[in-house]
Symmetry: D2
Subunit: 421 residues, 4 copies
């Protein structure tokens, strides 16, 4: 087994220990010979590098650990570059959550008007990173879970030639349900996965090759936390955990309106606590509190995909990649979140066994929004931005979208040079 | 010029005089040798037959006029069967308008939840009519403007082989704008027409073959009654007059909520007045009041299409017909409202010069809703009906859709035998 | 009726009187106010200008007649530019016919290896003409019947933005059959027209809107000169007169091998005779002999299309234009010969009522050949040229194609600067 | 590792020892707990069962071995049913080879007119087998390498719901080249595989994820036995070993015309010798002579696919399966030979990284032929059969196809009840 070199951009994130933990669990599969932590925030980087050293030592995991604030340095010396950045930090996130609420629209990190603002900030930065990879280390792979992961992937794949795979833990969702319900391992489960990041549906689910029974489907429906089992039955498919932001949008809005704090504000508090813990020179394990932050699946997916590539082992995984004809009615170069075969040649979408009759239209609507958002973000175009908001089924109203756009742009002015030049 | 035989199903409608008027105007083009008026309401049929006789006499229009309550009799003896029915009458329409309002959703005759209920009532009846034509008079043409005209067309074309063209005055909308703005005749204007009935966009507009100027576009935008010119500019296309029900949905809802009467209730009053006028043995002309009822364009379109067929004259016209590949990302058998070449061989969709980048997703969403509604209506399936409402961007919310569906079904029980058997 | 200005590039052709004759017949429909004859051959130009003057005078057709050897002058002062050139003249044509025969392959002006050589010579010249139009007179229309008309159209539409319609008399073929068989006028007939120039199939044929009967089909099959009626029955469609070059290729090869002269050699003789006639100052009518040259339909089509554009009158016509989705399995920008609606906005392909199950594959093969030929011609690429010949079902054999290509290139060296620079 | 049950239909084939040998090699991967040999020829079945027993004993391979002449018995008790039948035996094959030669057309077992006759005989029998599986053992997998394997697969997948994967050793062709040239293991190699059985092209070839170099491509081109390296260079892709039957068809015809014996006749002799060897009670190993029969790759593919399914292990493999959108311009239900991900859920086509610009047309032509052949074989239709031969680029000539069809049908009358009833 050849050792690989990994860099993490945005390594100051509180999530990093999830990756370290998974590195330990998968050491029989992949050997990380060097690990470079990169972040633009020196304080966080220092805390996380210290913790990483202790954590890996405790695991007796031998690797050459380094830290840097220089993105290019990190990029140049890695086989795999993991990107987990947050442009504007949680402060910007809280804006994304609160501003839409003023207009009667849900503010959420990845969907709707909030995700739109995040995308405008994030897509150009991620394209810059990928261009650096393209130029300085074209053989390297970028494994991304910076959100909104699907929009980011479309921006990068349309504007660079970097080898780029965008992931989301939601790709393992049907497997998680079966594991929780029956203790069935992910490796025994396969499915068609139709749609986009945070707006998708799984079906044709098999266990050891046999279709799941109606009873198993029912039980999965009950285990889909946060989604009404009735809704799952109407779809006849396992929806993303985020579909309630669409199909129960009024209830979600009311809940948000009644909450004292937004999720971003909660996370800000959590993260303060977590950094205090990580800074403790005696902490050598993943703190209990991290589980409240969410995102455990991502590390499993990221290292699973890296293993498939590094070992050139054919592996089923859900990725955000160019559609490439898998969904025939979406553009070839539109990014979709879909079941792929991953190996050293990259992530190749599988064709579908069947396409769903009753959610394809809404997926088209959201995809149209996403592609317009990429155009707006990269071109700094207000008209495209307005078209994007109008194309989104959660916004759609011109009388709201026009002033909302202005407010979002103004609140993010420092992160949107393309709109203010 | 060979005389043709025309039957009107639903001839008791207050609209009928629009057709009579246009018959007179187009007598140089088409000669209607026999005209059969059919209606299930004997009182209205009698009033309208009397008025028709006087009106045509006043025009000195020679035709063999008959009336009947027997649909088959009307169908068997016609070359063209015009259908203009309203299942459940204006009373059902008022329900369609009021019930959704209880759920915070706009009730409208053709779009959203109101149009959905109308479709459930109407599609099976229109399929029955078309099946009669298929069986008893397969060479005849059905020219329909029963609403929702696009959904009705999809039901009929998927379930029968009758020669069927569904029309809406909105197909002439860009021409109307240019006529109002500049006095330019329709015959000088052509355009790409993308979308569905009451949710469509016109662009690539030409006058005498040359593209319209930016200035002309601006002026058209101002003449699109009811649509914010800013919105038209963002689209870069002339939208249907009904798109504000989508893109200004909140404002439209507020307006409806504040109105004393629904449009259906207004129409009920208007129609009572109109029937009184028509019953007057001295009335021999189209009453002034009819112009308030709307729908003038339809007669022009209906007789224009009949003329193109009867005279086998190639004619540009916007029709609701099977997509047939014109919009490559929509199913072949999905009905779209699109620019066609019409002649004796029927209405053939034209390919598009270009497809729009920024409204295609929402058109897919609405088309998905429409196709599910056809399935629900024909199969009497509650699950399909719920899928349809969830697929509609104006409903989408499960917590509203589920109880709303029950209420709509119960309110229409007498017209929905397929759901209650 | 507004008078239009017409220029003919290649006006020295013996065909020109067909156009003049049709001008006379259609004077009620289009008024040609100025007619500019352009040719690179001064002798032919002089003869044809003289004859044109006498012919139009005899018709009492008032137009401003001019002649020029300056292509740009002709282009700049015309609303419609008719192109009918022959790069290399009939001498090159005879090469096209004879060289393939050495390899056991049929040499023919438009199909197979002969048409390939003609395409290499002609496509870049036609693109040059279209670029001049684009640059100096962008509002003008180019009406082309320079062969191979489909390949020429693909080269021009892919490499320029000129308004360009390529025609072939074969588009009227089904109508001709019905006229010959029953005296039925073209205006009463419509059909789906599937395929490419000189490799196409017509079906769903209607007369006054009703499908033709089996008996009428049988009679048409008998009137398809040169095509075995059995073959037509197997296709269930009316084939192009050129399909025997495919489906009876061995018989055609034998016939050519046994002929004393090629068609090109016969034509050379015919044309010498015709120029002598045209030079006669007493000739004021179309000479009888011209009918032996073929091509009568083209004038009817060319002026029909010009009339549809000039009068902005919707007209069914078969044109060679970008597929644009009409045939969903061919590229959008591939040129096909297909039924269109023509008016002042140009030629818009109609969608098909149905697509044929049994000739689509071979049409794809020939289209692939054509597109590769355009690439080879425009790029001067030997590899592309070889790929083109291998893609053609009439060549396909590498052991023949490789030396044949060299011989064709060498024989045409003076006309192929892109291959020899 | 769970033991699986395997049945071989057509087990009397001389190929069977290849499977036995591979069973031994792959015993660490799959454990075959029972092996049922089925054949309609009692003599061959008896010889091969005896040999199998000795061979497996010599390997010390424990399995429950049985033999039967009852197809249903074999089908009912197996998890995997391997089909390797030859309808009409080698006698019919020799007809397939000789009859087309009379018409100047190459006779070959799988391509052209010879493969056509074989398909007519074989497709309905294979459909019958698959229907038995569907009815009596719906959970079982059919692994087929009965030729023409692509046409057989299309017949079966269009007419039954059996789980069916058709294989051809050619799917491993690019890997074989790299192994021969550089000793690179198949597991390190991946590629796009475009086309149909025996008419396909591999490209985007990677080794350990990196694209092959030009030098490696050149070396592969030299290792493609029987294909001119120049031709491979023109394609820029590794062609099937059978493409010379297309692109060097004249040379292949001459070679066949000059050969004393057809391949079928050679094989008849070889097989006589082989059965004598197998009958020898002292033979316990694969005889040297078998390597002359060809087909070694198939066993590796068959057991590789069975292992992927039995172990639910994601595996790259080239299979003949429904296109399913992988090649967007071919029908969804057309069978193509294409790179798939295989696991317990079956073989799912991968989308393509890119599609080839210069062979797609000919692939369409051959696919059209194949689909028409399936229709002809299943429906017993002479018109469809003639359409199929005309659609094939190697036949295409009506004057040959019509009498050739009659002769082929008559020579195979006993195997074609659908054509003679």
């Amino acid at each position: 087994m050849k050792a690989i070199r990994v860099a993490i951009i945005g390594a100051g994130s509180v999530y990093t220990p999830e990756l370290l933990d998974m590195m330990g669990q998968m050491r029989g599969d992949i050997q990380i010979g060097s690990l470079c932590l990169m972040d633009t925030d020196p304080a966080r980087l220092s805390i996380m590098t210290g913790f990483t050293r202790r954590f890996l030592d405790a695991l007796d995991y031998k690797t050459e650990l380094s830290q840097t604030a220089d993105r290019l340095e990190a990029i140049k010396n890695a086989d795999f570059i993991i990107t987990q950045i947050r442009v504007g930090g949680n402060a910007a996130r809280v804006n994304d959550e609160k501003i839409p609420m003023k207009y009667g629209l849900l503010g959420q990190e990845t969907t709707g008007a909030g995700g739109f603002a995040k995308a405008l900030r994030t897509a150009p930065v991620m394209v810059d990173i990928a261009r650096d990879v393209e130029q300085y280390n074209p053989g390297a792979w970028v494994i991304n879970y910076t959100n909104p992961t699907g929009i980011v992937a479309e921006a990068v794949t349309k504007h660079t030639k970097a080898s780029f795979i965008s992931l989301c833990g939601g790709g393992r969702h049907p497997g998680n349900m079966l594991y929780k319900a029956y203790g069935i391992e992910h490796s025994r489960v396969r499915y068609d996965f139709f749609g986009l990041n945070h707006f998708n549906f799984s079906y044709n689910i098999t266990i050891d090759g046999r279709p799941i029974t109606d009873e198993e489907f029912e039980k999965m429906a009950e285990y889909v936390g946060g989604v009404n089992p009735e809704l799952t039955r109407v779809f006849g498919a396992i929806p993303s955990l985020y579909v309630p932001y669409f199909y129960n949008k009024n209830e979600r809005f009311r809940h948000a309106a009644e909450s004292e704090k937004t999720r971003g504000e909660v996370v800000q508090g959590l993260e303060r606590e977590l950094y205090e813990l990580y800074a403790d020179p005696d902490l050598r394990t993943k703190p209990e509190l991290l589980s409240k932050r969410g995102g455990g699946d991502y590390a499993e997916m990221a290292l699973g995909v890296i293993s498939a590539i590094a070992n050139n082992r054919d592996t089923f995984a859900v990725c955000n990649v160019s559609n490439n004809g898998a969904i025939p009615f979406l553009p070839t170069d539109a990014v979709v979140e879909t079941a792929c075969m991953v190996n050293a040649s990259g992530a190749r979408p599988l064709t579908f066994k069947s396409l769903p009759g009753h959610v394809w239209g809404m997926v088209c609507a959201v995809k149209n929004y996403e592609s317009l958002t990429v155009e707006a973000a990269m071109g700094g175009s207000r008209v495209k931005a307005l078209q994007a908001l109008l194309a989104h089924p959660l916004v759609m109203d011109y009388d709201l979208a026009a002033p909302l756009l202005e407010e979002l742009l103004n609140a993010n002015q420092q992160y949107l040079p393309r709109f203010f030049s």
